[in-house]
Amino acid sequence: MYRILRYLAASALMLLLALSGPLVLASEINSRSASDSAPIDQNQAVKSLREMFPELCSGREFTATLQNDPGGDGRWELYWGTSFPASAQEKISASINAVSGRITHFSYQPDSAYYAYNSSYITSGQAKQIAEDFLNKYHGAEVPRLKLNVDYPYTYTSERDNIFYWNRIENGIVTDQDGVVIGVDLLTGQIHQYTYIWTDAELPAPVNIIPPSEFRTVILDKYGVCPVYKIPLWNPSELNTAVPVYAINTPAQSFNAGSFEPLDMFGRVLPDTKTYIESITPNPGGSVTLENSDQELPANQLMSAAERFFEQMGAPRGEIRNTGGGASCYGSVCVKGQDYSIIGEDDQEYMTVSIDTRNADIVGFNRHYPGQSNPANSQVSCEQALSSARNFIDLLSPGQVIQRQSVSYNEDNRLYQFFFSPLINGIPMESATIYAEVDKNSGQTVSYQKVPALVNCSGFTHLISPEQARQSFEQNLNLKLKYIFLRDQNYQPVGTAILAYSLDSFPYLDASSGKKIKPTYVAQGQPDNHWASAALSVLKERGLLSAEDLSNPDYAVTRRQALELLLSSANSHMFHVLGGSEEKIDLKFTNIDINSPDYDLLTRAVKRGMIVNYGEFYPDQLLSREEMALWLTNILGYRDIAEMEDHITLDFNDVDLISVDLHNYVAISNALGLLNPDRNGNFRPQAPCTLAETAVVFLRLESKLQQSISW
């Protein structure tokens, strides 16, 4: 489940990366005359890059394209990559401000052999020191205006990088999104990622600022509080169960520090509304478990459901075609859908419906042709449209829902857009959304999307009252003063900033206790003196290991534990990309029946080619190191090679202890740097794998798999 957090983190960082070029560029162009600014040439751009990353860029010939986003005049996009072999490509990409020559983004992806012989991780502390040295060297003048963001939820550890984010501080106040991001490779200590964002804008002096305590009271008075179900992103080990919290009843995250107006990310004033206008009455109840089944209905039933739906919608007669499918995934849980369209005589699609393949529920709908304009040629009112949307939802999703005001950037003045959340135990489940669009002319619902929760919801017997929550927020709600840059519709800064108060990352209270939510992902209790401490801490931060595990990482793992760890590693999506089978298979182990609690785990392992599907499998047995070699080689697709009659030369002292049929598996996993001998030159093939060894292997495997995905 850690991958969700990492996904969010990656998304946020990617946003920064994507915006970095134009942001800086636009600022500089705004400070000059766009047409006066002659872009630097390609050679100058490459020279700048080589100066900052001499080791990685030396001797490499870059291809360059001059690019811009609306409002800018140019940035150089540099690229270098090996084409050979394609499956293990090494590449560098960078963005350079075409006016200033400043590097705004750099990323390096090593080839797959890069990690083969590196098995020692540096610690987070060492990585931080490397990042700081780099920062001092290239941003020395700016360092006094930079502050490491230790609270930032997306300062995180990825598969192999530690990423550090320094916020730009002006007048003692954080600027929104400006700063420096540096990612340090944990295996080599090299800097593989770098982003620099520095917006040129006029910053108002922080005078006559309303004190946070006073501001907090106004916000609480204005919006109040409400109980909602949230996925606990603040606790990566519990991401599969949403919990009830109290939140401020507003969709906004920031507010003008002078006027209290809610703001969006462009600095624009949002409609001043509560998230939930209707009242919420908690109804204590038990937990709600996600219906998670990989059973799929046959195609004829799905098509029949589509037919029924189209008939219900009064669609014109026509051919019904399957037009594709997809899946909504959260962690390892996926809901698959198939799309069906009804095609008119002119070969155009009239309507499309998405059907949940598990239960034939309607999860999406689009009407591609307009309905009849109403005779009066006047638009339907918002209330009428809302009523239409509710009727439509009632038809397709029986069950209680509550309208949710949302910050929407997809403005279409022909349509009303409505968001709803289902109510579970009387309170909104926010990670599930029902979205409907209503045509202003016809009053018809023209689009409907249902995004399921894909997590469980915990039950509760008692929640604190809104009044108690309000009191707790008075004590605990953190408001941070920051500069928000005003931006145009292309997200380009327009040269001015405003002061705003922003809610913290998790402005919630535990709805039962009233205690403020605090993130738990900050690494705690790492066994720093252990040889595998870095790898163990990474797994701990992802919620894959407990504190107890870390206290004794040298215990031998069972085959079940190793499989669980390795399969939960590498983000199951990696395995999906890599191959294997998505089709249903039956296990052929003579000692595992379908009621076995291990059935699903073993099925996943078989589907990914990690283990063979015959004979017997004993999940409770310990996993030997040579068996681990077998699994690793299999999953990387080298079984054909390992099974060859010719043996690979091995010079371990204890080579004779390796089972004859596993000799090449051991050799390959060792040659790829996944499993190494001890310092005495013994591979210890029959020794059981410890948790620490498995954790290290886990990260090495993940690195290799990620290489394959990058391709």
């Binding site: 800018g72 140019g74 195609a299 004829n300 294997g580 249903k584 990387l636 079984r639 060859m644 060792n670």
Partner: protein
């Protein structure tokens, strides 16, 4: 409630499937008593026709050797699902290969008709290990014929084997022999209906089988226009037009030597009603006489040559000038707003966009080398299909005029180098007329280059423009026979054949499924405009097995036949035991995988070999080999030198993406007697290629790493790695 019941039932049923004899194919299938209730209840069955168990039984009886002891599982894939069919699959689930190349069977059964529509079998890779192609096309045909006699005795007198001499130079190398039998009714072939069978040339088993057999009423062939008379009248009316034909082995090359001028019949129709002579579409609808021709005014070949476009050496982008060009263009199309530079690509295309034009969006691409408009698109926020919501204001003829005027304005030079094609006359998509102008070079159509436009039907505005123009070198037309002679030669070839046209179901025609008597234009219809000789589909003579005849008894003969089908046998023939050079070896091995696989990957577009010129006819093969990781890009390729066996091992291993293992710091222990002769950096390559059976030792146990490879060795290796691709 139903959902839960179904899930519970499936949970119970599926694991016991393997234990029920009825779910696994056995030799004496018919004698096995089936517990049909279990399966029938578990999954819905088609409306009418045979049961699921009967369908499974049918597959097992039809393909007993392949399906023996395999459990066929029903699967309804929503994408391929057709009502009234059972789809089955079987996967070798003992070991799921991450590369998804494990053994697999899929089959589809028409429940109503009680017959197999399709069957596909992918044998496991272990079956191929170390084995070369050993079934000749003739032997494979015997296998296929025997299969037909056994499984479809009732159809034998209604099937005619279509001896195909087609070859497929743009496709990857096949390791199967493919055959097709056309359905005959009243002695006349039925379009779309027939049986195709692929026989694996290595294993001699059926790997693909398709049957298409529609219910229809076939009218008696009466009152038909005499074909000879009709042919003469039709050809005289339509005439021919000259067109450049690319040679088969130069699919990535457009230099003069790869193109020959041919005459083709000037029509876009394939079939004509055999009673009325009217041209028809495949759904039975008639084609208007106005749009029967491919080109209304076909060009005439001439030596009045047009100067080829001379590429200007990169002057560096002058953004201001380009911006002015964009400004002028947007002014011409009446678009107003703020021009924004979007990007300058490494291909020298500069893109601009225009915004705030009253809800319209515009994108423009300009070629920085010659200042030409490369592409233009405009759209608005309502770019959604609203059928029936538009009112027609211009007709197709007006759209043509507007298109020509637009072209004349923005590229007057090219406007005189194109001709309007009737590929899709009168066609309206998204309320837009589609116009396509083909390039003419020296009076000869060069169809690969074109200018395409879309004209808004309501406003008459050009909303899309795209210039596809290659750097075609100067290709002289040469001295051509005249058109009348071209017509005469085509008439002599009896280009029309009588067929039953099964009106296509896909277009929703009112005649769908009806069988109409029609005359179909046969392929090939190309006549070399220089010599008057008939030429094949790819501009060369058709596959000519005669050049292989002297090797008929050679062990490599089945492999040579496969290569010949892919156009990989040199026209002058070959000696399979002679050494092969690196160029030829790359040409063959790179066809083991899809040659188009890397075409869209633009991260590498340039070859870096100092000894390969930009006009090298094998550049496409070399580029594909580089992109696949088979060979390194750079230094010298030495295309004319021999390829040695240990080098071939390296190329093959790279093709299979095992390079990482070959480069490990550990070595395999080679068992070949001459292992010490293997270069140290090639040991693992040799070991892997040997271990996988791609290259073997000689009868003395020697690998002969430094021996030049023969044609036979390379050809065999190419077929051997094919199943991995």
């Amino acid at each position: 409630m139903f959902k839960k019941t179904l899930v519970v039932m499936l949970l119970f049923i599926l694991p016991v499937m393997a234990a029920i004899p009825g779910f696994t194919c056995h030799e004496a299938w018919a004698a096995v008593e089936l517990n049909t209730n279990v399966m029938t209840d578990s999954l819905p069955r088609p409306v009418t026709g045979i049961s699921e168990d009967e369908a499974r039984s049918l597959i097992c009886n039809t393909f007993p050797d392949i399906t023996r002891n395999k459990t066929l599982i029903i699967k309804q894939d929503p994408v391929t699902y057709l009502p009234g069919t059972y789809n089955f699959f079987w996967n070798d689930s003992e070991y799921i290969r991450p590369d998804q190349k494990g053994a697999r069977i899929t089959a589809s059964v028409d429940a109503e008709a009680g017959r197999i529509n399709s069957f596909f079998y992918r044998p496991g890779l272990d079956l191929y290990r170390g084995r070369a192609a050993q079934y000749t096309r003739q032997e494979a045909l015997v296998i296929a014929n025997n299969f037909l006699r056994r499984t479809h005795p009732e159809l034998m007198d209604r099937l005619t084997y279509q001896s195909s001499d087609r070859f497929f130079p743009e496709h990857s190398l096949e390791n199967t022999h493919n055959f097709y039998w056309s359905r005959m009714e009243n002695g006349i072939p039925v379009t779309m209906d027939g049986i195709s069978i692929n026989i694996d040339a290595v294993l001699g088993v059926i790997t693909e089988y398709h049957l298409s057999w529609h219910n229809s009423t076939f009218p008696e062939p009466q009152d038909l226009i005499p074909v000879d008379d009709f042919t003469s009248r039709l050809l005289s009316r339509l005439g021919v037009y000259p067109s450049f034909q690319l040679l088969a082995d130069s699919y990535n090359d457009s230099s003069a030597k790869s193109m020959i001028p041919v005459y083709m019949v000037n029509t876009r129709a394939d079939i004509f009603d055999a009673r009325t002579g009217q041209a028809m579409n495949w759904d039975g609808s008639l084609i208007e006489d106005n749009y029967l021709k491919a080109y209304e005014y076909p060009p005439r070949a001439s030596e009045k040559s047009i100067s080829p476009v001379v590429a200007i050496s990169d002057p560096g982008p002058d953004l201001n000038q380009l911006k002015k060009t964009a400004d002028d263009f947007f002014g011409f199309v009446g678009a107003e707003g703020q021009i924004a530079f979007s990007q300058l690509s490494k291909q020298g295309i500069c893109e601009f966009s225009l915004q705030h034009d009253k809800g319209m969006y515009h994108q423009l691409a300009i070629n920085t080398l010659n200042g030409e408009i490369q592409e233009y698109q405009s759209w608005n926020a309502d770019n959604v299909i609203f059928p029936g919501n538009t009112s027609s204001t211009i007709d197709y003829e007006e759209a043509q005029s507007l298109g020509r005027a637009f072209l004349e304005k923005i590229n007057p030079q090219k406007s005189s180098q194109v001709i309007l094609s009737f590929d899709a006359p009168n066609q309206v998509i998204n309320n837009r007329y589609i116009l396509r102008f083909a390039r003419i070079h020296n009076g000869i159509v060069y169809n690969r280059d074109s200018i395409e436009m879309q004209v808004d039907k309501s406003s008459g505005k050009i909303v899309s423009y795209q210039l596809n123009w290659s750097s075609l070198g100067y290709v002289p037309a040469g001295s051509l026979i005249d058109e009348a002679q071209g017509v005469s030669i085509i008439i002599q070839q009896s280009p029309l054949e009588l067929v039953y046209v099964l009106c296509d179901y896909e277009y929703g025609s009112s005649q769908a499924g009806a069988a109409l008597l029609g005359y179909r234009l046969k392929e090939p219809l190309r006549v070399d405009a220089r010599t008057g000789t008939r030429i094949g589909y790819w501009g060369m003579a058709e596959t000519d097995d005669s050049r292989l005849q002297e090797w008929r008894t050679h062990w490599i003969f089945p492999t040579l036949e496969l290569l010949n089908r892919s156009g990989l046998i040199p026209e002058q023939g070959l000696d399979p035991d002679s050494s092969i050079n690196r160029r030829e070896a790359i040409r063959i091995i790179s066809r083991s995988y899809d040659p188009n696989r890397f075409l869209n990957d633009d991260e590498l577009t340039q070859l870096a070999f100092v000894d390969i010129s930009s006009s090298d006819p094998d550049r496409g093969a070399f580029l594909s080999a580089v992109k696949s990781g088979m060979i390194r890009n750079g230094d010298k390729l030495d295309p004319d030198l021999p390829i040695y066996r240990e080098e071939l091992a390296e190329w093959l291993v790279n093709c299979l993406s095992y390079r990482e293992i070959a480069l490990m710091d550990k070595s395999f222990q080679l068992t070949a007697i001459d292992a010490e002769a293997v270069s140290p950096d090639k040991i693992n390559y040799v070991a892997i290629a040997s271990g996988l059976g791609l290259l073997g030792n000689d009868e003395h146990g020697r690998f002969n790493p430094q021996t030049p490879c023969t044609w036979a060795e390379v050809a065999t290796a190419a077929v051997k790695i094919k199943p991995y691709m």
